[in-house]
Amino acid sequence: MKKTLKNLITIALFCLVGLLLYLRLYHVFSWKDTSDNYNSTLNTFYQMEPDTADVLFLGSSHCYCTIDVSNLWREHGISALSLSISGQDLVSSYYCIEETLKTQHPKVVCLEVFCTKIHGYEAGSEGNLYRNTIGLRPSITSYRAIRDIAEDNKELKGQLLSRWPIIHTRYRELEEKDFIQNGPRYMGFQCDFRQDGDISWRGNGYQYCPDETPIAIEPTEEEWLRKIISLCKENDIELCMFVAPYAAYDKEQQQFRYVENIASENNVAFLDFIRLKNETGVEDPHDFIDWGHLNYWGAQKVSSYFGDYLYANYQLKDHRGEKGYEIWDENAQKIDREKTAYELKTNANPVTYIKSLTQLDDCAILVSTVGTFQNDDIDISSIITSLGIPAEQFAFGGSWLIDGNTVDYEPHTGDYSRHWSYRNKTLSVMGTPDSNYVYVNHESRVLKENGIVILVYDKFLQEVVDCSELSTDDSFMVLH
């Protein structure tokens, strides 16, 4: 009996340890927020303080390329969250609202209606499907979402419900963020600085269609649209539908007229940013990445207009400075810093480049001289010293790490090596009398001989945001 009990305890303990390891493994492999071309922000959503988000944006990539929620925060203090996901269909939008309502009670839900043209799992890529389903935490809501999205595809349903058949393949793509939370959280805006995307090939480009005859959308999509309207009404949420600026075909715009009519029937606000082209000032191709997506500048124009509209029509409170809303500051700072990094990377003028370095906040700047690093073309010494490097040290040459008010100097005499460690990066300079190398996490960043290498590490973004070389041969023109 004693032995049996001991054996039972061993089995129970084995199961317990196994369960804990499983949960840890699941945490690592679970679907995480993605940025770049495919956005998802559900992880950020789950980390938010309850009852803080006043506005919820939903929709496809058109939405997260159009709406910069940090703009709404910066200009009006509106606490808005975007749960827009690549290829988000109306079923996904519906269940995103349901999931949101578990912890938040937004006053306004803004639904970007390109998703009225997306039908369940049959539309878009598998990646979009996974983002829309397994990004949700396992719950009755996610079960129902999978059931309704996968429809009668039993195999797919099984894979989505058990998740592992999909997420285990992530062993090929695991990153630091899968193990530990790193970098600032962001709230669903694709900050893209590409410009002049070719949109002319699609339909009439970014033009409002004069033919306003409505064309019906698919009955299934209409059904889900009406469900979203009812869900918002039941929960006392204002719904606002909108069409993001893009090169829409005439037929698509006529379908939006149909959606507008449904909105009108139900007293739901409707904004068509194709029609509002002049009001927002969005220009093509300058403000577009491609036919369907705005870039940073285009997004600022629409977000600013949208922010004004929301602030004027929905009595939204300004939450800036309030406790529990730090995540919006974090997000705004992230966007600001990405813009700063972009400006740094596109600056070729040594004078203005170094000047902008002096204005950086919470960044470490590594300056390292290589070979003959001064010439008569330009007095580089007087420019560099503005970073805080003493002129006499610079005349001698070496490496400097400027971090806030401290300047750490490593003279280049004999064989030398120096390392500065930050949370997830180690910046190193190594060299001999004949050579000099700068490394960031094993990766060499030196480009040429004779000149100055500058490396900028943003401690907030936790990444090297710029690495440039000012070569004597090119009159110190900044090469990134």
Partner: protein
């Protein structure tokens, strides 16, 4: 229902749990229901075939036992054999037979009507029919008494862990355990732990190693006409690993699953690639089938008791039938024939080789000699595997031709091996898995104990560490889910 499916992950614990709880008298009925459910999850209709084979062999067993006259006993046995093998012939060999007959008759200008029998091969048909037939012969030989309880006998034929891919059990072992099921002590911690470890180990071999190397093998065999010696050798060696991992993995899971429920199934593999001759290989590979052929084909044909020529003839017949058992295609027949030839030639040259060793003063007891024999045997076995894997005899011959003529050693250095479907990371995972299988076989070879026994002898922390690592590897590195199409165990088709 595959062992490596979510379905089985739910099915098995439920079956075991209820099996442990319910009264002893109804345990076999519960297992019988579970086994039929297991089988019907593939194709419910084919359960009728399983049932028919069961009823026929059970009835024949009773009749054989009842009749005293040898002629009558033999008649019943023959009828039982004909009816069972006709099932096998119809479902597995009819199209093959008809196609070949049609080709032969065309030579003498006789045209047979074109038949398009769309016969779906019932899963595991060769396994359960051989098991049932073996029982009938055992009763005929009076080595066992017939089972009077139909349900108990039906469980013997359909016992789910070994139903679809063996081991092909003998009535003397499994049926005897079925007869003692009511009095069996179920709660045996060591059995449960051992069985669990075997299941995990089997799943690891199948899902992490066999299914991973299958990607490379499929690429090489699919586009063999594009590759030279190195890639083709990688494909052939890969297939040796794949079929071993696949089939040994299945057998290990089957034996483990049975063990959890307190049943001991026979061992099916004993370090086959450590064999020092092709004959030795067949004492280590698919043991349940090779002993079945030995006992029910080779020995009844006369075995090695009727002179050398008859011995070789019997050997060739046995291996040709074995080849045909594996598949209704000429490449399987040639594969069986090659194994027969290897053994005949091996036996014929034995004296010459021994003399040669003596003249050259070869140290036949040394490790290097043993290693040479092992590698030599592997070469012949692997050469035969090419015929097994290739879709047809023509492909197999072309594959072999290219393998020995398109010499491209630079492929070892220019990264071509990483373009065969597995990149460096996948190769690394495969290599770790293959090394683990090699280590497990080495333990088995030297210590004569399985991975499960070896692990149960270790400290708890080590056992748990290995088990959690294996489970983690299955979950993460197992080939399943999206982009996975190699779901079937290879031996299911037999």
């Amino acid at each position: 229902m595959l062992f490596n499916s979510i379905h089985f992950l739910i099915f098995f614990p439920l079956v075991v749990l209820l099996y442990f709880i319910i009264p002893g008298k109804v345990r076999y009925i519960w297992l019988l229901i579970s086994s039929y459910y297991f089988y019907m999850s593939w194709n419910a209709k084919y359960a009728l075939l399983l049932l028919a084979s069961t009823l026929i062999t059970w009835g024949c067993g009773l009749l054989i036992d009842r009749f005293q006259k040898k002629n009558l006993r033999r008649l019943v046995l023959i009828l039982g054999l004909i009816s069972n093998f006709s099932f096998l012939f119809y479902f597995k060999y009819f199209n093959f037979f008809w196609g070949n007959l049609s080709k032969v008759l065309q030579k003498i200008h006789i045209t047979l009507p074109v038949q398009s029998f769309n016969i779906l091969l019932p899963v595991g048909i060769s396994f359960f029919i051989f098991q049932a037939v073996g029982y009938m012969i055992d009763v005929y030989r009076k080595t066992i008494k017939p089972e009077k309880n139909l349900l108990r006998y039906a469980l013997f034929v359909s016992f789910f862990p070994q139903l679809v891919a063996g081991p092909i059990e003998r009535s003397g072992n499994l049926l005897k355990q079925m007869q003692e099921i009511e009095t069996k002590k179920l709660w045996n911690y060591d059995n449960i732990v051992n069985g669990f470890i075997m299941m995990i180990w089997g799943l690891f071999i199948k899902m992490v190693v066999a299914d991973r190397v299958a990607i490379l093998v499929d690429t090489v065999f699919g586009y063999y006409f594009q590759f030279g010696t190195i890639s083709l050798a990688a494909g052939a060696i890969g297939f040796a690993l794949q079929i071993y991992g696949d089939f040994m993995g299945y057998s290990t899971i089957a034996i483990g699953a049975a063990k959890v429920m307190g049943f001991e199934l026979m061992e099916n593999f004993n370090t086959p690639y450590f064999a020092t001759s092709v004959s030795d290989f067949w004492h280590r590979w698919h043991i349940s089938l090779s002993t079945w052929f030995r006992d029910y084909v080779y020995i009844p044909l006369g075995g090695n008791r009727c002179g050398k020529f008859r011995k070789y003839l019997n050997l060739m017949i046995t291996f040709l039938v074995s080849g045909l058992w594996h598949g209704a295609a000429w490449n399987y027949v040639v594969w069986g024939m090659l194994h027969g030839i290897f053994q005949v030639v091996g036996d014929l040259t034995k004296n010459i080789r021994n003399k040669l060793y003596k003249i050259t003063n070869t140290k036949t007891e040394s490790f290097s000699f043993l290693l040479g024999k092992i590698l030599g045997t592997f070469f012949w076995v692997d050469l035969a595997w090419i015929f097994f894997r290739a879709g047809s005899l023509k492909v197999a011959l072309e594959y072999c031709f290219r393998l020995f003529t398109k010499w491209d050693p630079w492929s070892l250095f220019n990264g071509q091996l990483y373009t065969l479907g597995l990149d460096r990371q996948e190769f690394f995972i495969l290599a770790i898995g293959a090394i683990l299988i090699f280590l497990a076989d080495l333990i088995r070879y030297n210590k004569k104990e399985s991975v499960a026994v070896f692990l149960t002898k270790q400290c708890l922390w080590f056992r748990w560490l290995v088990l959690f690592a294996l489970i983690g590897a299955i979950i993460v590195y197992g080939i399943y889910g999206i982009q996975f199409d190699s779901t079937q165990f290879i031996y299911f088709q037999f």
